[in-house]
């Protein structure tokens, strides 16, 4: 169908550069939308210090001047990007602490939570997918389907609440959010691979079942699974918010929630940019790995 010669395809470095440019553009766009949303949200011009009678008229005037620069969305965003490039994300209005400091102290908690959750969810999802396709025992299939169905049916916030009430490990919640996606995707891939003629031919040649499974089922499925890995980071980040809020973990998710309730502009815009960057970077790495695996 596609008659383009191989020489016309971009090299790996070209593809990496294309992904990097795309990531940067989407990031700038994301930051701009975040700033736009926050700038025109109600309460933007309200400062509780206006109501504090301890401030003199001159002080209130200075506060108004300080905020006046933020009223123009473009100038606000340009100034923000300039400062962010130097590592200065501004000062949190609700907590009166530099945003970069807040993010630095909380990033570790979220990274650990998401890392453990991803490892758990992938292990569980791949394990169940292999077990249900490899052995095809009705008990395994029914159990994994039921578990998968229940995991898909409950929002991470509810699972977090149940885990919290039963004093279970919190990373379990992220794992449960990831597991059904990995399980269904991997199982479908494995089942499709099992129907390929190579599998039948290998069986007819008397190749051991375990080897057939590794060589003709698991190996071709790696590339699409890498693509799923990028998406699962985004799912894990989304699930981390209710987990951190409900289980009182001082991570980035809890910070986002607190900032949202306090309408803390610098914190929310910074977090929007960081979350966008992480998920886009994960997707870009997965895409590049997928293209590399295919070539």
């Amino acid at each position: 169908m596609n008659g383009a010669p191989d020489a016309a395809k971009p090299s790996l470095s070209g593809r990496v550069a294309r992904h990097a440019v795309s990531l940067l553009l989407t990031l700038l766009l994301g930051g701009f939308f975040g700033a736009l949303l926050l700038r025109f949200g109600p309460g933007f011009d309200v400062d509780e210090r206006d109501l504090d009678m301890r401030y003199s008229a001159q002080s209130r005037e200075a506060i108004h001047r300080e905020r006046a620069g933020d009223r123009n969305i473009f100038s606000f965003y340009v100034r923000y990007i300039e400062r962010a490039a130097q590592g200065d994300f501004g000062v949190s209005r609700s907590l009166a602490v530099p945003v970069s400091e807040l993010i630095a102290t909380r990033a570790g908690v979220t990274t650990r939570l998401i890392g453990l959750g991803l490892a758990f969810g992938w292990t569980l999802g791949l394990g169940f997918a292999v077990a249900s396709v490899r052995w095809r025992k009705p008990a395994v299939i029914v159990f994994s389907e039921t578990f998968c169905g229940v995991a898909l049916s409950l929002p991470a916030a509810v699972v977090a609440l149940l885990v919290f009430l039963t004093a279970g490990p919190v990373s379990l919640v992220i794992g449960i959010a990831i597991f059904p996606r990995v399980f269904r995707f991997a199982r479908d891939l494995f089942e499709k691979a099992l129907d390929r003629p190579q599998v039948l031919a290998a069986s007819a040649r008397g190749v051991a079942e375990r080897w057939i499974f590794l060589r003709y089922v698991v190996r071709p499925a790696w590339a699409p699974l890498i693509a799923l890995a990028g998406v699962s980071v985004s799912i894990a980040f989304g699930a981390a918010i209710p987990v951190e809020v409900i289980c009182d973990l001082p991570g980035l998710g809890q910070l986002a929630w607190k900032a949202a309730l306090a309408r803390d502009l610098p914190v929310l815009v910074s977090l929007t940019l960081i979350v966008t960057a992480i998920t886009l970077a994960a997707n870009a790495v997965a895409d590049v790995a997928l293209e590399a695996a295919r070539t």
């Binding site: 949200g41 049916s153 985004s234 989304g238 918010i241 209710p242």
Partner: protein
């Protein structure tokens, strides 16, 4: 397994019907307080007991079912309309508009949806009338949840535009709006219906998550989200009857999955 799907459809129909008839079926108004006995355990009069403010949990669950189940399809309808507008126009016009629309779609897809809802909800007034909070919650989900459907529609439109029946219609002198109305939209209907069914449970879960975080439907109006939030103030799980909203949510979501699987809809 067809009987399981039939059971799922029947169960969903029953829950929808109970939600619609909540005003008649519920033993008490959702906000009425029985102040003499707050936190009362289940009894014949109150099948799920009373909450901390002395309100009948069963009545609130029925009213919450109506809000959560009836407004999620409305939000899905908004999302599908936006997706059709953005995805359809991107596929039809192509060029720079296609690139720009898909870049925005990528952005919406790359952000964790709960983060997006949280940020957008926080930008809207928090201290609003309960009825306004319903509109805000579901309209916001509808307006922000279009991205995945837009991508699907975007990839389907060019294929349909280059299909034989569209070429034939064009060769016969059909104008583009007529081709859209008479040929493309009927073919897209199956796709749009599938996306609609995919989005309903997503929005039900979205409302539950927002409600649990205190950013969904405002009290005293009940919804599944703020009913589940009551679990936060329960000592361990000794009062197991407060799990009723969680169990109902899980049952409804499982039924949606069974129905979707029966219709051949892929969720991932």
């Amino acid at each position: 397994m067809i009987w399981i799907r039939r059971f799922a459809v029947a169960f969903l129909g029953l829950v929808f019907a109970l939600g619609l008839a909540a005003d008649w079926v519920a033993p008490a108004p959702y906000a009425r307080q029985f102040r003499a006995e707050p936190n009362a355990p289940p009894s014949r009069e109150f099948p799920l007991g009373l909450d901390g403010l002395g309100r009948d949990r069963f009545s609130r669950l029925l009213q919450g079912t109506r809000i959560s189940l009836l407004l999620a399809p409305a939000a899905a309808l908004i999302a599908i309309s936006v997706a059709l507008l953005i995805g359809g126009s991107a596929g039809f016009l192509g060029g720079w508009w296609d690139h720009a629309a898909m870049r925005v779609t990528d952005l919406f897809l790359s952000l964790p949806w709960l983060f997006l809802f949280l940020t957008a909800r926080a930008m809207l007034p928090l201290n609003v009338a309960p009825s306004a909070s319903i509109v805000i919650t579901f309209a916001m989900m509808g307006l922000l949840g279009w991205a995945s459907s837009a991508r699907v529609i975007r990839s389907a439109v060019p294929e349909l535009l280059s299909s034989e029946f569209a070429l034939y219609a064009r060769a016969c002198g059909c104008a583009e709006p007529r081709i859209w109305r008479r040929h493309l939209l009927p073919h897209l209907r199956v796709l749009l219906t599938a996306q609609f069914w995919i989005l309903i449970p997503v929005f039900i879960l979205g409302e539950a998550s927002l409600g649990l975080l205190g950013l969904g439907v405002a009290e005293p109006l009940p919804s599944w989200g703020n009913l589940i939030r009551e679990l936060e103030s329960v000592p361990a799980l000794a009062e197991y009857w407060v799990l009723a909203p969680v169990l109902l949510l899980a049952a409804v979501m499982i039924c949606f999955q069974l129905v979707k699987t029966g219709r051949g809809v892929q969720t991932f």
